[in-house]
């Protein structure tokens, strides 16, 4: 989880830019992400969607980013400077953020003791099925790129 940052290209940074200004841009970026969280939550309530609010926010951010990249270069530069760095930080260290929820496993000791067999079997089985089905169908139906080294 912590290395998802690899898949994001680093933003263009002006060399020698002051840390203070970076922090301010970062906070502004975080403010935009939070605004999208609340917009997502409101949209969920207003439209009676079953999607969680932050997931609606995710989709909105992706759509905004694609639209702005296509039609409004200046806003795209603003997004790259403000939202992208803070997004990279949050995504790359996301593991830290779900530690408090994950530690709640201590209240589920009974489930783990009594149901370890279905847990182990379903995690292994359904992960393998998902992996093989997705990989094989994409392999079969998508145009071939260069061969990957395995």
């Amino acid at each position: 989880m912590n290395r998802e940052s690899k898949t994001i290209t680093p933003p263009s940074r002006t060399p020698g830019k002051k840390t203070g200004r970076r922090v301010v841009s970062g906070l502004f970026g975080l403010f935009i992400l939070l605004a999208l969280v609340f917009v997502g939550g409101d949209a969920r309530k207003a439209l009676h969607l079953s999607l969680p609010g932050p997931v609606i926010g995710l989709a909105l951010l992706a759509v905004i980013f694609l639209l702005v990249k296509r039609f409004h270069t200046r806003s795209h530069r603003h997004l790259n400077l403000r939202v992208v760095p803070v997004s990279r930080l949050l995504v790359s260290q996301m593991g830290l953020l779900f530690v408090p929820v994950g530690a709640g496993i201590i209240t589920e000791g009974d489930v783990l003791r009594h149901e370890w067999l279905p847990i182990v079997a379903a995690v292994i089985g359904s992960t393998m099925i998902g992996l093989v089905v997705t990989g094989w169908l994409m392999h079969r139906f998508a145009p071939k790129p260069k061969l990957a080294k395995i």
Binding site: L34, L90, L97, P100, A103, I105, P118
Partner: protein
Amino acid sequence: MNLHDILQSFLWTAITVACYLVGLGLRRLARNHVLANPALIAMILVAILLLATHTAYAVYFRATWVLTFLLAPATVALGIPLAKNFAHVRQSLSGVILGLVTGSLTSLVSGVLLVRWLGGNKELALSMLPKAVTTPIAMSVAGQIGGIPALTAVLAVLGGVMAALTFRTVFGILRISHGHAIGLAAGTAGSGLAASQAAELGDGPAAFAAIGIGLNGLLTALVAPLVATIFK
């Protein structure tokens, strides 16, 4: 909020960050091996500390609200890697849609069926359902459909580790050498953990892994409530 609460909040948040830093250190020592997952290590350390100090989980959870609060904007932030790599989807639209939708659905349904078939209860089945997607989305979906978010978080990390450890061997045996297919499958079935391994195969696999994480997150959040009502 009184002084005691503020101190407690500060203390437990600092302890959680420290446990995570220990996890990051251990991962470096293990040369980035997938089993050395900092989040999983931190969860175990925090759990041991809570049990050792006889602290109620509810107290700890309330004290670390800042971290949990940031989970929502971090989920929104996943939109950036999705958008940045979205251009790749257009080149191989049919393959991506077919692979992602079928793979995601078979993985959802097989997880629920395996749990029920082996005698697991309904709560466990609902916690298993969204485990293939990236942990924050998996947890919020689990909470929504009546599963246990903490259990889903652990299942999601275990599934990710499983996929990351095995995908090269599996695709080697099946003679699947299509880099984009391997990336998409790793991101769809193993979220961030497998995606970071797939990213080592090159830029194409990395981009498709990011697409797999983002689109499977959206798809699972959409269909999980439907699947949950069918199997209730």
